[in-house]
Symmetry: D2
Subunit: 359 residues, 4 copies
């Protein structure tokens, strides 16, 4: 088992960067929900490459074909399977990585795990391309959640040294999410977006790459989702988010910075507001004991710099077991973080919709 | 499902802070492994309370009784069940929290999830007391891993504003882990330990609490453990670590700080050393594409300040649905981080031994 | 993984025939349900040995101790753990089976699977003794189901050549179940019960054993429980029933005999009765496409003759790898079927309550 | 969750009778195994319809397209996804069944479970068409098992009143399986095959249907596969076999008939033969305590008569909630058993290969 997730819905992702197709089966969706394909396509376009001067020009259509699970455009209780064809199969670009693994990429560990039979073209099953079916599944969950008043949004809070403001953890709303979508880069503040763009351009011009942090918020969640211990909402979200290539950390609410504070400052006081229990601050990120408390769920995911860079690097020749220099050819994103923003939203939506159905 | 974890071994934890007993069943341990009960007891003592001036005086025996799974002291293939009796059942101390939930504690969310039927005494199933069976399971996994040359260790890297040095991510070894155990507080450097102790004392004297960060390293792991996407080693470790009360973040290798760097600096160059492939740096924390690369696995977990503090706090009365002040009585740890160090080791050992058996 | 079952509730059974205790953790029970311990004890007594002239005299107390999961006698959302002490640890009776496995018993396969480290005393984890925690879990599910109008009952339909009448598959009701409990042996007709008793006595007097068939019915189930394909109600019930030692077959509704008939006779016609859809016959055993149709669920389980018999048998010496005669010492049930009746009810209740919660 | 199975390999089936395509993702196949597509196609043809005078003429191509999981025709560690297009989408034939469910078919229970949003065309996800991806997954497992000396075969032992001989449970071999494949109908004895054919023709001529029993054997299995209790080999095989539409019973070895015998006859004596432990008889069906004993695994599955018949039947109108007559139009198999033979082999292969990998 590996590319599976879920308790009530069961996500099963398949495909390689250059296999005939990639896709996902989503088992367990309730019947009777209309899926808006235009909205799904629009969501998928947010992670598609080749849109501007800071991402690769790989021409993927990303056109989702629904193979099953719908009847008259409405979920029918059968597993919903979506596939996307791989059009741009330039596998020759990647031949060298079979012998000389890219530093900090899965080339080497895939080689070990699969005894050298792994599909090296474009990273095979470990490719960022596999986030397209993740986004297909997540895009469907996002639609359904929105229909019940639960909204998900994300933005870049940091790329290299450039930073955006954080969400207001108490008052963040769907309006913020809309604002982000209208910006050239997914940042809250357009000026931060521009600083971020310049960081990426700077890395690109050096043939280098740079990492970043994405912040995600989910509003409108009822209190009581999640389970104790290993099935808490943090555990569930982390289980999906670490499935996105390049993620090396996740923190909820006050996160790592919160440890320097005292409980008297960090604790989120409860108060009654219009017959509802709320908290004045939200350092808990909307989760107490693994269970949602009705405040927005807030988390941040750290993405390492993309390992594929144009500069020459030290590596080893696997067949010869000796040191070897590596010069990666082909075009690569200097920073995957902008395209990862919808992936993080998708991950949150999958984990939380599953927790919602499992309540 | 909630208090379950694992693919090949299956951990199932049960108990409440003041139920007759707490315990764990570990299904799937290979047969034929001798369990050293003295070593297990010694490990459990590391998380036991009442040891010094910085933790509570609750008198728990934590004496593990093995109910099943052994035959002649050796695993026999049957599930191994361990229970510990709860001796110190002073549930009256906690009566108030039924009506007025502690800010940032699971009191409120447990109340919502379980419709007011949750066991409020001492936090019930959400109590830190439940880390004792986690440590029992983890202590057994740690023993077994050590027998195959895989060593696990952890230390405090930060409490409040006091910081310890980090592990050397490339050269960390079992010798470091032994050194930590001999220190008064689990820190690499004794001076850092003293600074950390003073931070805790300072919080205690104010009737306040403070959070911290624990760093954990696992050495001797073969390359190739873990699976792609949702069953990667990061996903598996996070799934257990977020089961420890108070954890709000986890990061592997370079983590959150790494995002500010370029790929050319961050990437871990491969080289051949004595017929083995190693990396010169270890910003990946020993994991590429969710799969171990043979370098030490390194991660850090962020613990929020303990929510139970002696100072008066704002909260709500659940039966009256109105604002109410809360003054928590009884003694509480001003900082759970020192006692959480073996819990983090236990979590890592459980996740990695399961991944090892699942290889 | 092995001794685990369930989607929404998670049953985890542990123990060996002569380990200090046996038990079960039930994770996922809804909070707020009162557990009647007297009723649970009464249910457990139905599988206890030593009650009459047809079962063994092993003095087990089977007294269940609830370690966790209750607060004030009511489920609190935490896993409910029950243990029973093993009092009668005469493990010396079984020494010979370590070297010479009993034909048709798990002695040999446990030896292979666990490399000779299996606990041979009394069959270890493979002992019929482990049906006590199964009945503890099932007895709790039975109680809860009854509280929502779902009743479960079972009886012996065949032992050796003696047969009882089958349930009326359309009109079977809780009154039938009560009648069975008042009979000396769990049969619908007292005369059949007497014929069955004589079959068992006949086997006992020869130092031999005999098998049988148990029929189980569950009434009051709503239509719509279960899922397509591998999570159908048949799959779920079979998954638990085959966990009872000695079961070699299961059939639902018309079962094996139904194959000789034509669809025109076998199909269960629908009709409307008082605003409810019912079927005139119930050859489907209440399940269509894996999903309950609102009629009683009916199934039968076949139990092979108990492998432990007093007569000398051909076997092999495992250490010497040569043929060897085996004479099993100690007292054994000539027929486990009477004591297995509550086990089958327990299995049905666990599977169906889980399916009910998972609806 | 519903259409998922497996511990080490994870089968996820999707599709409806008339959705654009049906398919399966198989996650967890070891890397480095060559898949013979011609052999897979030949296996799939054995369940394809329209081959003779006893099955429907629906023109399905059943041509499998591998979307992912292979690299150069060899498994690469990524999930292997296979899809088959649905060509013959005559959904109008089935319109009536939306309102008037077929007796003993899943039409009614699917309607209840999915609130009327189920895809009624051809039975939707409950169609026998979904056994095509089951066979694709099973056909791949069969190939791999054969490569390690494990052979699987099945035949019809009964249709209506016509019976074939059973496998010799001790000496059954791959040669028997080959012999069956060369017969016009999958029976051991050609004369039995002819009697079976006549039973089916008889039902067909009446516009009726008839059920049957399939026997399956697996040879060459090592001792020690499977786990105690709920993960025994019987549990695992039953979990897949009950996923085939129409199965109402399963029995292993001596099964239901065995209960009338005494232990002294039924027990399978062990003996040493050429350094291997074998049993003289095989009433256990190769499984003791849920674990293989090295003898052939033998089981039988009972299929009810196909519910879709041409004769008028009593049913109900769901929109009007009143009794209504139903006359099913279109062509239907009078007996699905011949086409189910490869499905049963596929189910056995999936369950046992998973148990093999999980050993």
């Amino acid at each position: 088992m590996s590319s599976h997730f879920g308790r009530k819905i069961k996500i099963s992702i398949f495909g390689q960067s250059h296999s005939p197709a990639i896709g996902v089966s989503i088992d367990g969706l309730p019947a009777g929900i209309k899926i808006d394909m235009d909205e799904l396509r629009a969501f998928l376009r947010r992670r598609a490459p080749g849109q501007n001067d800071i991402s690769t020009a790989r021409a993927e259509s990303d056109e989702p074909e629904i193979l099953s699970g719908l009847s008259g455009g409405v979920t029918c209780g059968a597993p919903l399977a979506v596939v996307m064809r791989n059009n741009d199969a330039r596998s020759s670009d990647y031949r060298e990585t079979r012998d000389i693994p890219r530093p900090s990429h899965a080339d080497y560990t895939a080689h070990v795990k699969f005894n050298g039979f792994n599909d090296v073209s474009g990273g095979g099953h470990f490719s960022g391309r596999l986030t397209a079916p993740l986004c297909a599944a997540g895009g469907i969950c996002l639609q359904i959640l929105r229909g019940i008043g639960i909204h998900t949004g994300a933005h870049i809070v940091q790329i290299g040294g450039a930073k955006d403001a954080a969400f207001d953890p108490v008052n963040v709303s769907a309006a913020d999410f809309e604002k982000i979508k209208n910006n050239a880069l997914p940042a809250l503040n357009p000026e931060a977006g521009e600083a971020i763009r310049l960081e990426i351009i700077k890395a690109k011009e050096k043939g280098d790459s740079v990492g970043g942090i994405i912040e995600c918020a989910v509003t409108g969640l009822p209190a009581g989702l999640g389970d104790p211990m290993f099935d808490g909402v943090e555990n569930r979200i982390a289980a999906v988010v670490f499935g996105i290539p390049g993620v090396k950390g996740i923190e909820f609410g006050g996160g790592f910075a919160g440890v320097a504070r005292n409980g008297s400052e960090f604790n989120d006081s409860f108060f009654v507001d219009g017959g509802k229990i709320k908290t004045r601050t939200n350092n808990s990120g909307g989760i107490l004991g693994g269970i949602t408390n009705g405040m927005p769920v807030i988390f941040r995911a750290a993405f390492k710099p993309t390992p594929s860079i144009g500069m020459e690097q030290e590596s080893v020749s696997l067949p010869r077991m000796e040191n070897a220099a590596l010069q990666v050819k082909g075009r690569h994103d200097p920073c995957i973080v902008p395209r990862a923003v919808p992936c993080v939203e998708a991950a949150a939506a999958i984990a939380l919709y599953d927790a919602y159905l499992d309540r």
